[in-house]
């Protein structure tokens, strides 16, 4: 298997195998469970972005996962502040 195929395959596996559960988790149950799903989805989206950038061979696309890594952390911290104690 060529490396380009491996990047594509890995990103598809992550989208189906990891983003799927993250989306399911973020759409069901209580608010804290959903926030865990959002956090998981953010981390997976960063890694999918990295892999797709490698697959396309476009290093300029790397800015997207880099910015997303910063924003995912910020977003989760803001949501934890908003949820707070009942």
């Amino acid at each position: 298997m060529s490396l380009s195929t491996a990047w594509y395959l890995a990103s598809v596996i992550l989208l189906l195998g990891a983003m799927g559960p993250a989306l399911l988790l973020s759409s069901r149950r209580g608010p804290t469970d959903r926030l865990i799903g959002v956090s998981l989805g953010g981390s997976v989206a960063v890694l999918v972005g990295l892999l797709l950038s490698q697959a396309y061979g476009e290093s300029s696309y790397l800015i997207v996962p880099f910015v997303l890594a910063v924003l995912a952390l910020t977003g989760v911290l803001v949501y934890t502040r908003l949820l707070g104690p009942r």
């Binding site: 195998g17 998981l40 981390s43 890694l47 290093s59 996962p65 911290l77 934890t80 707070g84």
Partner: protein
């Protein structure tokens, strides 16, 4: 080197997929929270190292490593913040006062 990169890549992907399904499968937010950590602290660095091995040292590889390091460093911070809010909502930890 290409084989090593692929082995590390798919090892990282396997860790992330297994953690995601475990987080979905298990009951209770505090138990689920344990399965966020392997994604950022094991899976992401494995993928980052595989990119470095496959592409060699360059500026774009540096950005990949920086992103992965940021993810690995922010993972525990997110987990701690989430655990705190879950503990407060479940009455395990006292809520902070907003004065």
């Amino acid at each position: 080197m290409q084989t090593l990169a692929q082995v590390l890549l798919f090892a990282g992907v396997a860790v992330i997929v297994a953690s995601s399904w475990a987080a979905l499968w298990l009951r209770g937010p505090l138990v689920r929270l344990h399965y966020l950590s392997p994604v950022t602290t094991i899976g992401a660095p494995l993928i980052g190292v595989s990119v470095v091995i496959a592409s060699g040292w360059s500026l774009s590889t540096g950005l990949v490593l920086l992103t992965v390091l940021l993810l690995a460093a922010s993972g525990p911070a997110m987990t701690i913040a989430l655990a705190r809010v879950i503990a407060q909502r479940e009455g395990i930890a006292p809520g902070e006062s907003h004065e």
